[in-house]
């Protein structure tokens, strides 16, 4: 079947079997391998993407379900220069990446949080990341990176208000 949807801001149309997951479509039919395949039972969060702005496990969404909707994957998250954005840079700076397998999912879960909460507390950050498992870092550094990003984005938006 053919499905049309918006992928990382671009209109996309792809012909796929109807009985595959969004995860399989992204990785095997669109060659976007940034979205990781982990547990495939919706527990680890490695396959997290944004569907109409909401964080979902792409292993539990069927490809035909995204018809007409908007999907954002890790490939759609980057700085203006094409390099890491502020959140991704903070992950690097705070040691929030070790093996890196959970990182795409962590970044998307963090972006989902930051788009809804300007000033999340540490416990709100932990709650927002509770569907994403990381076996390396112990989470502390990830929470630090998200917290630092929230602070700097707030400073920026307050700075813009003051200037404007």
């Amino acid at each position: 079947m053919n499905i049309a949807f918006k992928l990382n801001g671009k209109k996309t149309s792809v012909t796929i079997p109807e009985d595959i997951t969004l995860l399989t479509m992204l990785r095997e039919h669109l060659n976007l391998t940034g979205t990781k395949q982990g547990c495939e039972i919706g527990e680890c969060g490695a396959c997290s993407v944004l569907l109409d702005g909401k964080l979902v496990n792409s292993c539990l969404v069927l490809a035909p379900q995204v018809e007409g909707r908007e999907v954002v994957t890790i490939e759609g998250i980057r700085g203006l220069d094409g390099g890491p954005n502020d959140l991704q840079q903070n992950f690097i700076d705070h040691g929030a990446i070790q093996c890196g397998y959970c990182t795409p999912g962590m970044i998307l879960a963090s972006e989902a949080l930051l788009s809804a909460h300007l000033k999340p507390s540490r416990s709100e950050i932990r709650e927002a990341l509770s569907g994403n498992l990381c076996r390396c870092t112990g989470y502390q550094q990830i929470v630090d990176a998200v917290e630092a990003t929230a602070k700097s984005r707030n400073l920026q938006s307050e700075g813009q208000k003051n200037n404007g």
């Binding site: 109807e18 527990e43 997290s48 979902v56 539990l60 069927l62 509770s130 569907g131 994403n132």
Partner: protein, 290 residues
């Protein structure tokens, strides 16, 4: 995963027509968080499998305050329930329970109708919905029917819902003025965890300080939803002294063992459930924090 066909009807009527086609083994897809797991264990049969995606049917997707009840469309997600100002106002206990379900990703997808229709023994919304006297509304080509949630669930993953029938909505009668609800969940960790035990309690004190409403529904204990009228009777029309709450909790486990008979897990579950029940009762009747 097995091979399957996928179809997305636009209305309840169309869904019922599709469900009535005997050449397919039809499965309803709402949030998919349980269904996709079940599919991976699906054993192929002769009839071809077809998923009917109801997640985008507008008439199944709402949360509405009506005169004396709140009506929730079957495909409302747990995130939508948690964020609903109507439900935050009317049933904080439901919000409390839904926040404990899965992680953010699961809550963004999973639907309340799916949680009910899948009828897992550990489904987190069931004890609270039963405690709130939820009625379920079903529709089929034969017409509509509705029933209390405890009559809908026949056992583990078994419901009264027929093959050509669909759960369309859940209605919750508003609680009496001044009633309070508490939900406690015990899992192996705080986040994203399957319940080991849960308990939902709704209660109210009359003006003279006696219990005039109490409903106790434990979860993850029995395959069916059970009420505990003998335990509730120990509290009704009495002042809620700590000793009485304790007696009531012990009666709950006595009834649980009577209903369930002893199982391998009873040595653990009985004392823990007694304590959880006592704690929930104290929070309802003895704490001033509303």
């Amino acid at each position: 995963m097995p091979k399957f066909a996928y179809i997305r009807p636009g209305s309840i009527e169309e869904t019922i027509l599709l469900l009535g086609m005997p050449e397919f083994e039809n499965k309803i897809l709402a949030g998919g968080t349980d269904l996709l797991l079940d599919l991976r264990n699906h054993t192929s049969s002769e009839t071809s499998l077809r998923l009917i995606d109801i997640s985008r049917i507008p008439e199944l997707h709402y949360i509405q305050l009506q005169e004396d009840q709140v009506s929730i469309g079957a495909t409302a997600t747990f995130t939508e329930i948690i964020q609903s100002p109507i439900l935050q106002e009317t049933f904080p206990i439901l919000i409390q329970a839904c926040k404990k379900i899965g992680g953010p990703q699961i809550r963004n997808m999973a639907t309340v109708g799916g949680n009910i229709a899948n009828a897992a023994a550990c489904a987190d919304s069931l004890p609270v919905l039963a405690c709130l006297h939820a009625r379920l509304h079903l529709q089929s080509s034969q017409g509509n029917r509705n029933m209390p949630i405890e009559q809908f669930i026949l056992g583990k993953n078994k419901t009264i819902c027929q093959k050509n029938e669909i759960l369309t909505s859940i209605s919750l009668p508003l609680l009496p003025q001044g009633a309070k609800g508490v939900f406690i969940k015990l899992g192996r960790r705080n986040a994203q965890t399957t319940s080991r035990l849960t308990v939902a309690v709704v209660g109210r004190l009359s003006n003279n300080g006696r219990v005039d409403t109490v409903r106790i529904v434990p979860g993850s204990v029995t395959d069916k939803i059970l009420f505990y009228p003998e335990a509730e009777a120990l509290l009704l029309n009495h002042p809620p002294t700590p000793e009485r709450l304790r007696q009531c909790s012990l009666k709950v486990i006595e009834s649980m063992i009577h209903n369930n008979s002893k199982r391998w897990s009873t040595d653990y579950k009985a004392p823990v459930l007694a304590k959880l029940t006592e704690r929930a009762l104290s929070q309802v009747f003895l704490s001033n924090i509303s």
